[in-house]
């Protein structure tokens, strides 16, 4: 029982992060039908930028939480610029190219960003300095930290804010209209270029936030960390139904929980033949199962909706 609760708590934390990253995939896919495989790298750059800012401010005598806040803010802004730049430089010129072309470009950008990060931050694991004075709480035999609470609460607040933005604001209306029928949105006076840029900018900001969460949670960063994280968040987006924002949130949480439960019980299930370091296989088992039995995902929309 205590394992179950413990893994649910861990899964919720991980799932909150996946959900934020999955939103970046799904927003871009919903609007231009592109799977932006460089998004995981945007998250990684977010972690790295926050790392650099935090390390360089560490000796300044500012309160640690303020330093973390500044690191987060700089990372978010840097990633917004990066996301905007990616769209502008790599994807916009290919707007009318066959679908495969931007997809391959996305993979290319992912490699480019990884290598740039390797040049700047090196090829070794770096320690993400813990800025939150960690406290451990016990609850019904399971334990969790204030970092986990902060991650889940912050992610929930951001997702509520994003839902409000998309459902209630003028920009959100424009984004939904563009996703549903780009030509007609243009007729209504929506500046399509701007909407597409916004999808990248918002998605990248969420990615930067997720990157800082991952850094604070695992206290470690690496130039290749975006690859696996990106693939898993992509899986979460597919699980929820790619292009659907509520789906990305639900898919992220669900995937985090599946993964944590898998990691918690894999030893018992296989007579300790496989250990918890095999946890990565669960995400991809989920991906395969979803693609086989329900390719449109849990909240999937019929593809016929796209004009």
């Amino acid at each position: 029982m205590d394992t179950l609760l413990q893994q649910l708590i861990n899964g919720l934390t991980l799932g909150a992060v996946y959900a934020l990253v999955a939103l970046g995939y799904t927003m871009v896919y919903g609007i231009i039908g592109l799977i932006n495989f460089a998004h995981g790298e945007v998250v990684m750059i977010g972690t790295m930028v926050a790392f650099t800012v935090i390390v360089s401010l560490a000796g300044s005598g500012m309160p640690p939480l303020l330093i973390l806040g500044i690191g987060l803010l700089v990372a978010v802004v840097a990633c917004m610029v990066l996301g905007w730049g990616l769209e502008r430089v790599a994807y916009r010129p290919l707007r009318h190219a066959p679908r495969l072309t931007p997809l391959i470009t996305a993979i290319g950008m992912s490699i480019v960003l990884q290598n740039i990060a390797m040049i700047i931050w090196g090829r070794n694991y770096i320690t993400f300095p813990p800025m939150i004075d960690k406290q451990i709480y016990e609850f019904a035999g399971a334990s969790f930290t204030n970092v986990q609470v902060a991650i889940v609460v912050l992610a929930a607040l951001v997702m509520i804010g994003l839902t409000y933005l998309v459902q209630r604001t003028r920009m959100g209306m424009a984004m939904r209209a563009t996703a549903q029928n780009q030509h007609v949105a243009l007729l209504m006076g929506v500046d399509i270029d701007r909407v597409i840029a916004m999808a990248f900018i918002i998605g990248s900001a969420l990615g930067a936030l997720a990157g800082c969460m991952v850094g604070s949670y695992y206290e470690i960063a690496h130039y290749q960390m975006g690859f696996m994280l990106g693939l898993k968040a992509f899986t979460a987006a597919v699980l929820g139904g790619i292009g659907n924002m509520a789906g990305a949130m639900a898919g992220g949480l669900l995937l985090g929980i599946i993964e944590a439960l898998g990691a918690g019980y894999i030893g018992d299930l296989t007579g300790n033949f496989l250990g918890s370091h095999y946890q990565d296989i669960f995400a991809f088992m989920v991906l395969i199962v979803v693609l086989m039995f329900r390719p449109s995902g849990l909240f999937g929309e019929r593809t016929g909706d796209r004009a």
Binding site: R170, M173, A174, R176, A177, Q180, N181, H183, V184, A185, L186, L187, M188, G189, V190, D191, I192, E301, D305, A307
Partner: protein, 236 residues
């Protein structure tokens, strides 16, 4: 006074010319019909005016302005609204949200609220369906919504692309009643229709298109009486 003056408009798809240098005009307050067989280039003409297609040549003067210089998303602020062929409602938005999208480019909230009342008055059915997701509306209701949405932009020039297409006769009648009403309120309308009889009955003037060219033009009543037009387009 001519609201719209089209000169030598050409539209190509790849190497194929769908519209071969046509010229026509629409005066303020009049309804003009563009009729012709399937594939004659009528829809291409409208889509080029709304810039869903980039014209291959020619020029378009609209209220004294060179229209092809205006960026596509700014056309609606210039007062041009297209009701696209196939309606193009936003399927996962409600009826009301679709109507508000029509007013997306406007920022006069009070006037938008008045226009919404007006549109819902023209189409009481839309009022009943206000909170329903547009993808679940019937074809006729979607056509009402598409027209209502275009009116929400407070256009000076309304471009209608095949509003009768795929609708039951009773629904076609309803839609055209509203088109008549809107026209009688002073709206300038360019109507593309395969149903030539219907189009010529509601419009003042008509142009007949054949293989990308305008072959005949006259007042609608005279086109309706023209034996050649009757034979070719009115099924007689």
């Amino acid at each position: 006074m001519n609201m719209l003056e089209v000169n030598g408009l050409r539209v190509s798809y790849g190497g194929i010319q769908a519209v071969r240098g046509i010229s026509f005009h629409v005066s303020e307050g009049e309804m003009v019909a563009l009729i012709g067989a399937n594939g004659a280039g009528k829809s291409s003409t409208l889509r080029a005016l709304a810039r869903l297609l980039e014209p291959a040549g020619g020029n378009v003067r609209y209220r004294g302005k060179e229209l092809l210089q205006v960026p596509p998303h700014a056309l609606v602020t210039e007062g041009i609204a297209l009701v696209p062929e196939g309606r193009g409602v936003f399927p996962r938005m409600t009826t009301l949200e679709n109507l508000y999208m029509g007013a997306y480019a406007r920022n006069d909230r009070a006037a938008v609220a008045r226009d919404l009342e007006h549109v819902l008055g023209l189409f009481p059915r839309l009022k009943e369906r206000a909170q329903q997701v547009a993808g679940t509306l019937s074809g006729g209701e979607q056509q009402m919504l598409a027209i209502g949405r275009a009116l929400m932009s407070k256009p000076r020039l309304l471009l209608l692309d095949e509003p009768s297409m795929g609708l039951a006769p009773i629904m076609v009648q309803k839609i055209f009643e509203v088109i008549r009403t809107v026209a009688s309120e002073g709206m300038t309308i360019l109507l593309v229709e395969q149903n030539a009889k219907l189009a010529l009955e509601v419009s003042q003037r008509g142009y007949v298109m054949e293989s990308g060219e305008i072959t005949v033009t006259d007042e609608s009543t005279r086109l309706l009486a023209d034996p050649k037009v009757r034979a070719a387009y009115l099924g007689e």
